[in-house]
């Protein structure tokens, strides 16, 4: 039990250090070392040497969104599979069959997306 809290405190220390290093380097040490001389030309957006035209926040392909939706479905499913895998031994045949049904439904979803040509990139 002691070890449990200790390990999470250790992880918290990693969070603190992982934030302190970039913040320290970028906001404390950096301004002391680097020059600061912004000119209007330097602050323009890069676009292969020409003047940038229009906004960069353009519309992008809707397929990114479809893949994101697919990802949500599959990732949530994996979150269910992890505890199942850990307790597999104590669940016995029941756990195995349940999970096969669960996976079967999911594969059905994948097959549906496949047939609907969601997985093609055009």
């Amino acid at each position: 039990m002691v070890s449990y809290w200790n390990s999470y405190l250790f992880i918290f220390l990693f969070l603190v250090l992982g934030l302190l290093l970039p913040i320290g380097a970028l906001m404390v040490l950096g301004p002391l070392l680097r020059p600061k001389n912004p000119t209007p030309e330097k602050l323009t957006t890069y676009e292969s040497g020409i003047e940038p035209f229009g906004e960069a926040h353009v519309r992008y392909n809707v397929r990114y969104y479809l893949f994101a939706l697919m990802f949500v479905a599959f990732d949530v499913e994996i979150m269910f599979l992890y505890p199942w895998a850990v307790t597999f031994d104590s669940l016995g045949l029941f756990g195995l069959v349940e999970m096969l049904i669960f996976l079967g439904l999911l594969v059905l979803g994948l097959v549906y997306a496949w047939k609907k040509k969601v997985l093609e990139w055009k």
Partner: protein
């Protein structure tokens, strides 16, 4: 010595806390050194593979080249484009970097757990945190207000989430065999009967793992988000100086972390005969890192339409097959 610095089973007092802080700071210093020399190693290896010499000017054998590069980046001006979304632009590299360091907290480097939080959810913790880097990448690409950055960021997100699914699913086979999410217990399970590393029973899972890992790391042949011939530098096109350095740092910390995860899950972590555990761990991780560089020097970049289709039509069905086969065989052999 190891016992003195241990904090794992001790009540939480000042001494244990101090040891924890020392452990975490050592890991941080260690990983910065590892990244510095991973970059040097990459440049040397790829140089040799292309019949070049690689860096050889700064210091003996060019050993100080990466340090010189870091110092150069540190004294470079930090340019924030006028059209950029300033606040998000400034914090995005930090968001991308801190999870890459946090995932190292659960990696067991050796049998003495001074530098490891033996968390019961180790694998889940790794997957959950490494997914957070995607947010930093997408925000950086969006906030730059640059077309290349936006496309690079979107591609990066689509690729990383698509390959995260087979990556997480391939590791489920190992978790089934070990019966634990704790990375320390997974290593110990490989040391127990039948004394075989999980790469042997999980060879299909391992192949899926290594392909997905290459894609997760945005390395060649899956480096489309940074395809320099079409997207300049992808999501960090507008970044300069040390903010750029933190994106690069996150990328190389993940190369190490992913290699360490693969070593732990499939190659028995620190276990091995004769040599001390940490040395075995270092050797195995180095082999993984070398593999990633070897692939980079060998393979051409694949096309965007092949990229996502490959993840969803090949890797995910295969990882489902691997999972079902592992579960059924484990049940039958019990």
């Amino acid at each position: 010595m190891a016992d003195f610095f241990s904090w794992v089973d001790k009540p939480l007092d000042g001494m244990a806390f101090l040891n924890m802080v020392i452990g975490a700071v050592i890991v941080l210093a260690f990983i910065l050194g590892v990244v510095t020399y991973t970059i040097y190693f990459e440049r040397k290896v790829i140089g040799w593979m292309q019949w070049r010499i690689g860096p050889n000017r700064v210091g003996p054998l060019g050993l100080l080249q990466s340090i010189a590069d870091v110092l150069k980046l540190l004294i470079k001006e930090d340019i924030v484009p006028a059209k950029a979304d300033r606040n998000i632009f400034l914090i995005a590299p930090i968001l991308a970097f801190f999870p890459s360091f946090m995932v190292l907290a659960v990696i067991p480097f050796s049998a003495t757990h001074i530098f490891t939080a033996a968390s019961n959810v180790g694998v889940l913790y790794y997957i959950a945190l490494s997914a957070m880097t995607i947010i930093g990448v997408v925000l950086g690409g969006w906030a730059s207000n640059n077309k290349y950055s936006l496309i690079g960021g979107m591609r990066s997100a689509a690729q990383m989430i698509s390959y995260e699914v087979p990556l997480a699913m391939s590791m489920l086979g190992v978790i089934l065999l070990a019966g634990s999410l704790n990375l320390v217990k997974i290593v110990e399970a490989q040391q127990a009967f039948p004394y075989v590393w999980y790469v042997v029973p999980q060879i299909l899972g391992f192949i899926i793992f290594i392909i997905s890992a290459t894609a997760e790391l945005n390395r060649t042949p899956f480096d489309l988000p940074e395809a320099e011939s079409e997207l300049v530098a992808g999501y960090f096109t507008e970044y300069s100086g040390f903010r750029f350095a933190f994106y690069m740092l996150a990328e190389y910390v993940y190369v190490f972390a992913m290699s360490a995860l693969g070593t732990t899950m499939y190659f028995g972590g620190w276990s091995g005969p004769f040599l001390p555990g940490w040395l075995w761990f270092a050797i195995k991780v180095s082999c993984f890192i070398f593999f990633f560089f070897w692939v980079r020097a060998t393979m051409p970049r694949i096309r965007t339409d092949q990229l996502l289709t490959f993840a969803w039509k090949v890797l995910i069905p295969l990882s489902v097959v691997n999972l079902v086969a592992t579960a059924v065989l484990k049940y039958l052999l019990k």
